[in-house]
């Protein structure tokens, strides 16, 4: 069953790395955006909301193409990042992280936002009367009570990052060992007559990884739930 080629093992390892890094790196941004959308009102909020959802609404290859023309090495933003911060995405695994992060972002934000909206404002008021400034209220009360949403969002983001290939392959192509993820490998195999059996092996591996991720997340979610019920 698991007699994968070395190249396939590399793709598996790379996928894991990309999905984990994409999930973790996008988390703080996801929390910040979710907070803005859930708790503040500002001009252009609908716009922000729409931009966040965009990667869901557009075909992934279009998202990948948009990333390419904004963050590619000759694109204005991409060139700026490369020159001033040495951040280069194109044809690097970091670009795959970015693409997966962008694709997973709406899922992350929605889940966290839903949980923030469910936090009882009365507890935040209580925290304020005890002297906690807004930022401290957020970190000591709101955020911990948002944990179920954060876990749910991370699971969705991780899963989406594993399954993503349309945006990734369009943005950073398919370079074995650098940007070739399981999904890209599976896709490639389905394009070859007779590649189904090999694709199936990789599908099984993707399923196993996600099953493991789900079980870990359920465990955390259960602990968080108990904690948040105050037990």
């Amino acid at each position: 069953m698991f007699n994968l080629s070395p190249e396939e093992w590399i793709a598996v390892a790379l996928s894991l790395r990309i999905a984990v890094v994409a999930t973790i790196v996008s988390l703080p941004f996801g929390i910040a955006v979710a907070f803005l959308l859930a708790r503040t009102d500002f001009w252009g909020k609908s716009l922000l909301d729409a931009i966040v959802h965009l990667p869901l609404v557009l075909p992934p290859v279009v998202t990948g193409y948009l990333l390419l023309i904004t963050l590619g090495r000759r694109a204005p933003v991409g060139a700026f990042l490369a020159d001033h911060f040495g951040i280069v995405f194109s044809f690097r695994w970091t670009g795959a992280v970015l693409a997966c992060g962008v694709m997973a972002f709406p899922l992350l934000v929605r889940a966290i936002r839903l949980s923030i909206e469910a936090v009882d404002g009365k507890l935040e008021q209580a925290a304020a009367t005890l002297g906690a400034r807004p930022l401290l209220v957020f970190f000591s009360v709101t955020l911990p009570l948002t944990l179920p949403g954060i876990i749910a969002g991370m699971v969705l983001a991780f899963a989406r990052a594993l399954g993503e290939f349309g945006a990734t392959i369009t943005f950073v192509s398919n370079i074995p060992g650098e940007t070739q993820t399981i999904s890209a490998a599976i896709y490639t195999l389905t394009q070859v007559p007779g590649g189904d059996a090999a694709a199936l092996k990789l599908v099984v591996i993707a399923v196993i990884i996600s099953l493991a991720a789900l079980m870990v997340s359920e465990w955390f979610a259960r602990r968080a739930a108990i904690r948040l019920r105050g037990e």
Partner: protein, 237 residues
């Protein structure tokens, strides 16, 4: 309604096939519906009983697959169109006329940049590119520099955006992208002929035969050639 003909065609043929359909409808009053997707997806759909009358594949493999699965009438199959493989670079590249022949050093041309083409296992243009480079003895050295795209269009975009310094694409695509230039053509004998076969499905309506004939006509030839394809057969009249 019943006479409507359905063609499943590789996505890269959309422009030309759309025009041909319009012309055909105008000439005969028969409506043609086309579904464009990857040849692989279309072939598998035919295998599952998709209601198509005509299949136009972007490569021989998936047409062979259809024949083998008995969803294509083998005797109607024609290798209709051809294309050429070219080496491209961004317009502002210093590279110009590259002679592509035995012993040409693609890796050196790329320097520390990337070379792009379609996936060499899966996407037809990639398969042709790899075959050509192997034949010319350039593959070994250049392989590590390859960034493989999901389609020829994506490869073209990489070069147009300057992400990749070189790309191997079809001439048809290269010609319409202003941000790239063709720096060399691969010798025809270095790769298997690039062929777009067409054929009727085993469930095709009788009316489809006339449409297939139209695809082989000189009117169709003109349209295909307008989009840069080479017409591989003698047009029927």
């Amino acid at each position: 309604q019943d006479k409507t003909i359905t063609i499943f065609a590789a996505a890269s043929m959309k422009n030309a096939v759309d025009d041909i359909n319009a012309a055909y409808t105008k000439a005969t009053g028969v409506k043609v519906v086309s579904s464009y997707a990857a040849s692989s997806a279309l072939a598998k759909q035919l295998e599952q009983g998709a209601p198509a009358d005509v299949f136009a594949s972007a490569d021989l493999d998936w047409m062979d697959y259809g024949v083998q699965k008995k969803v294509i009438k083998e005797d109607t199959r024609v290798n209709l169109l051809g294309n050429r493989l070219v080496l491209i670079a961004p317009t502002d590249s210093k590279l110009t006329n590259v002679t592509i022949g035995q012993g040409f050093d693609l890796a050196k041309l790329a320097g520390d940049g990337r070379i792009t083409t379609g996936d060499v296992q899966a996407v037809p243009v990639g398969k042709y590119a790899k075959a050509a480079l192997e034949k010319l003895g350039a593959w070994q050295a250049a392989a590590p520099k390859f960034a493989m795209a999901e389609s020829v269009r994506a490869a073209l975009a990489f070069v147009a955006r300057g992400e990749a310094v070189l790309g191997i694409v079809y001439e048809t695509d290269a010609k319409v992208e202003p941000k790239v230039k063709i720096v060399g053509a691969f010798p025809q004998e270095s790769y298997p002929p690039i062929v777009y076969p067409v054929g009727l499905t085993t469930t095709a309506k009788p009316e489809a035969a006339a449409y297939l004939n139209f695809l082989r006509s000189s009117a169709a030839k003109a349209i295909f050639e307008k989009y840069g394809f080479s017409f591989l057969i003698k047009p029927v009249s």
